[in-house]
C-alpha cells in the first residue's frame, strides 16, 4: 500500500471508523450544543477543521523539537493547550479584523473551539498514533492530515445531527424528552449506525 493508500485509510479511520465524536467521545459539547441549525453547524464544522489541522501542525513541531528533544513530555498538556489557546485567539483576532464576512460565518465559532476536547485530543493522539501497520509513528504530514480528517469526521456528524435536529423540531416529541435527552438519544443512534464501519479491513 502506497502513501496514498495510507492517507485513504487514515481518512476513513478518522471520519468513519474512529469518528471523533461517536467513537472517541471528543468534542461532545459543541456537537450537542451547536447542532440546532444547519448553517451554524457548517460554520462550526469548518472552523473545527481549520483549527484541528493547524493545531496538529504546531503541536507536532512543539512536541518534536521542544518536548521530546529536552525530555519534557510531562509538560505536554500545558504546552499544547497554551499553544492552542493562543493560536485560536490570534487567528480569531486576525480574521475579525481582516475578513469580517469570514468572521461572521466561521470566526465566531473559534473561541468555542479553544475549550473543545477534540482539538487538544487530536494533538495528544497524534503523538501516540501509529499508521495502519501498527508500527510507524506519525510524521508531520501524517499528523496534519489526521487533524484535518478528524475535523472532517467531526463536521460530518455535526451536519447530520443538525439535519436530524431540524427535523425533530418539526415533530411531536414527548415533553420530558425534548431538548438534551432527545439529542443524546439521537447521538446514541448515530453511534450505533456508525458501527457499520467497525472492523473494516482497508
Amino acid at each position: 500500500m502506497g502513501y496514498l493508500g495510507e492517507i485513504f485509510v487514515m481518512a476513513m479511520t478518522a471520519i468513519f471508523i474512529q469518528n471523533f465524536v461517536l467513537a472517541r467521545f471528543l468534542g461532545l459539547c459543541p456537537y450537542l450544543g451547536v447542532s440546532k441549525k444547519l448553517d451554524s453547524a457548517l460554520g462550526m464544522g469548518l472552523a473545527v477543521i481549520f483549527v484541528m489541522t493547524l493545531a496538529s501542525a504546531i503541536t507536532f513541531l512543539i512536541n518534536k523539537y521542544l518536548l521530546i528533544r529536552y525530555d519534557l513530555l510531562y509538560l505536554q498538556t500545558i504546552a499544547f493547550i497554551l499553544t492552542i489557546a493562543a493560536l485560536v485567539q490570534f487567528v480569531e483576532m486576525v480574521i475579525q479584523k481582516n475578513a469580517p464576512a469570514l468572521y461572521n460565518s466561521l470566526g465566531v465559532f473559534l473561541p468555542l473551539i479553544t475549550t473543545n476536547c477534540a482539538v487538544l485530543g487530536v494533538a495528544i493522539l497524534n503523538t501516540t498514533a501509529f499508521r495502519s501497520d501498527g508500527v510507524t509513528a506519525y510524521n508531520f504530514l501524517d499528523s496534519v492530515l489526521n487533524g484535518f480528517f478528524s475535523g472532517v469526521g467531526f463536521t460530518v456528524v455535526l451536519l447530520a445531527m443538525a439535519g436530524l435536529r431540524m427535523r425533530l423540531e418539526k415533530s411531536e416529541i414527548p415533553k420530558s424528552m425534548q431538548g438534551m435527552p432527545i439529542a443524546l438519544i439521537i447521538a446514541g443512534i448515530m453511534a450505533l449506525a456508525f458501527y457499520g464501519f467497525m472492523g473494516w479491513k482497508i
Binding site: E169, K170, S171, E172
Partner: protein, 439 residues
C-alpha cells in the same frame, strides 16, 4: 395513440356519470337573482343602480372600477331590491345587487351580426369588454385583459381548455358536444384578437365523443387541432395543459403569455362568440348540479346570480340530508356554509355530498410517504411545506415551494395520513402575506 400529459398528477374517480348524459336544459327565471359585484379577479365593480330601480335583462348594473375589473349586467328583468352583502360562492359575504324578478324576463336588444368575423381586433375586444366576460374556467380573470397582451409578448397559440378534469362536473363537456360550432367560432375570434396562428382544443380522454366530434369539425382546418389528453388530474390547470399541448413550461410566477400562449375555457369561448355576434352580455352560463344525492342531476343554463337553493329545487332536491355543498368541483371548489349563495360567472357546478361523504378522517402525523411529493404537478414538497407552516418556519415553507403551489389539491387527495395539505399551504400563504406586509 399516446395521449399527451404532464408530469405528476393523480387519477380520482371522475364521477361524471350523474350528469354527463343530461343535455343542457334551461333554468326557468328564478324569483330573484343576486349579481355579485366581485365575480372576477380585480377591483370590485361599482354599482350604477339604486335600490328601487327597475332593470332589464342585460342592462348594466355595475361598472368596472379600473382596467382589471368587470362590468356587470342584470341577468333577469325586475326591480333592484337590495344592495348589500350576500353569500358568495366562495363562502364569504360579499357585496351584490339583488334583483327581484318581475316575471316578464324583458331583455335589452341583442341584434344578430352575422358578419362578425370581419370586425377588426379592437372592435372585437371592445365587444368582449362590454359583455363583462371573465374566465369561466374558475379563475375568473377578466377576459378583455387577458386578450390584451403587451406588445413584447406576442401570442402564437390559443388553447381552449375543454379538459374539465374536476370530478363530477360536466358543463364544459355538454358545451363541447352540444355547441361545438359556437366554441370553434369563439376560438377563431380569440385567435383573431391576439393574432395567434395556432389553435388547440384540449380535451381529456374520458370524453371520446367530444374529441371525435371536434376532430371531425376541425379536420379541414390546418391551424386548429384537437389535443386528446390523458385522463389525469389536474390536466386542466393552465400550466399543465400548456405543457401537455405544446411542451412549453410557463415560468414560475409567470403567465401563459410568457410562452406565447393564451388559454381560455370553452365556456368562455362560447361567451365571446355570443358577445361578438349578438352583443350579448355574459348573463347566463351552464352549471352542473350533481352528486349522488341529487334527485335529477342536470346541466342547467341559468341566469348569473341564481341562488344555489333555487337550482337545487329545480333539480328535484335531494334524496338524503346534505352533508356538504360544494360550489365548483370537489377538488378545488368551495364548501358552502349555506345554500343561499348566488352563482357567479365562474360557477361551473354545484356538487352535493351526503353526510357520510362529507365527513373526513382524523389528521395523522405525516408518514413522509412522499406520495404527495411524487404526484405534485408543480414538483413541490407539499408535506414539507405543511409541516413548515405548522411549526411556523416560513422560510422553509417558501423553500419547499409555498409560493408555487396552484392549490390543485392532488397532494391532499393522496395523503394516507389525511393531512389537509392544501389548507396548511393556504394558511402558510396567509401567514406569508402577513409577514410580507409587516416587512
Amino acid at each position: 395513440m399516446r395521449l399527451k400529459t404532464f408530469p405528476g398528477g393523480i387519477h380520482p374517480h371522475d364521477e361524471k356519470h350523474y350528469s354527463a348524459s343530461a343535455p343542457i336544459s334551461i333554468m326557468p327565471t328564478p324569483p330573484r337573482v343576486i349579481v355579485h359585484l366581485s365575480q372576477h379577479i380585480g377591483a370590485v365593480s361599482s354599482p350604477t343602480v339604486k335600490v328601487g330601480d327597475t332593470v332589464l335583462k342585460g342592462q348594466v348594473v355595475a361598472e368596472p372600477a379600473g382596467f382589471v375589473s368587470l362590468v356587470q349586467h342584470a341577468s333577469i328583468s325586475g326591480k333592484v331590491t337590495k344592495i348589500a352583502k350576500f353569500l358568495h360562492p366562495t363562502g364569504i359575504m360579499s357585496m351584490g345587487v339583488e334583483i327581484t324578478s318581475d316575471g316578464q324576463n324583458l331583455s335589452v336588444d341583442m341584434p344578430d351580426d352575422p358578419d362578425f368575423m370581419s370586425l377588426d381586433a379592437a372592435a372585437l375586444k371592445a365587444r368582449v369588454s362590454a359583455a363583462g366576460i371573465c374566465g369561466m374556467g374558475g379563475a375568473g380573470f377578466p377576459t378583455h385583459v387577458k386578450l390584451s397582451p403587451p406588445e413584447d409578448k406576442p401570442i402564437d397559440t390559443v388553447i381552449l381548455n375543454g379538459v374539465e378534469c374536476e370530478p363530477f362536473l360536466t358543463s364544459d363537456y355538454r358545451l363541447l358536444v352540444e355547441r361545438a360550432d359556437d366554441i370553434l367560432h369563439g376560438l377563431r375570434l380569440i385567435m383573431k384578437i391576439v393574432s395567434a396562428k395556432k389553435g388547440f382544443i384540449g380535451i381529456e380522454a374520458n370524453k371520446p365523443d367530444a374529441i371525435e366530434l371536434l376532430q371531425k369539425l376541425t379536420a379541414k382546418e390546418k391551424d386548429l387541432a384537437v389535443v386528446p389528453l390523458k385522463l389525469q388530474y389536474p390536466q386542466g390547470a393552465e400550466k399543465q395543459l400548456i405543457f401537455a399541448a405544446t411542451g412549453r413550461k410557463v415560468p414560475a410566477g409567470g403567465l401563459p403569455m410568457a410562452v406565447g400562449v393564451v388559454v381560455q375555457n370553452v365556456a368562455t369561448a362560447v361567451a365571446i362568440y355570443e358577445a361578438v355576434r349578438y352583443q350579448k352580455p355574459l348573463i347566463e352560463r351552464v352549471i352542473s348540479v350533481t352528486g349522488s344525492i341529487v334527485n335529477k342531476p342536470m346541466n342547467l343554463l341559468a341566469p348569473i346570480g341564481t341562488l344555489y337553493s333555487d337550482l337545487l329545487e329545480h333539480c328535484g332536491g335531494v334524496s338524503a340530508p346534505i352533508g356538504k355543498a360544494i360550489s365548483g368541483g370537489p377538488m378545488m371548489g368551495f364548501a358552502l356554509p349555506a345554500l343561499d349563495a348566488a352563482m357567479t360567472k365562474g360557477s361551473s357546478g354545484l356538487v352535493l355530498f351526503d353526510e357520510k361523504a362529507a365527513k373526513s378522517m382524523q389528521e395523522h402525523t405525516c408518514l413522509r410517504c412522499a406520495r404527495c411529493v411524487d404526484i405534485c404537478p408543480m414538483n413541490l414538497l407539499p408535506s414539507m411545506i405543511a409541516s413548515a407552516v405548522k411549526y411556523k418556519d416560513l422560510e422553509m415553507a417558501v423553500k419547499a415551494g409555498l409560493n408555487d403551489c396552484i392549490k390543485c389539491g392532488s397532494c391532499a387527495y393522496v395523503c394516507p395520513a389525511q393531512i389537509r395539505l392544501v389548507q396548511w399551504i393556504d394558511t402558510g400563504k396567509i401567514r406569508y402575506a402577513e409577514a410580507m406586509r409587516n416587512k
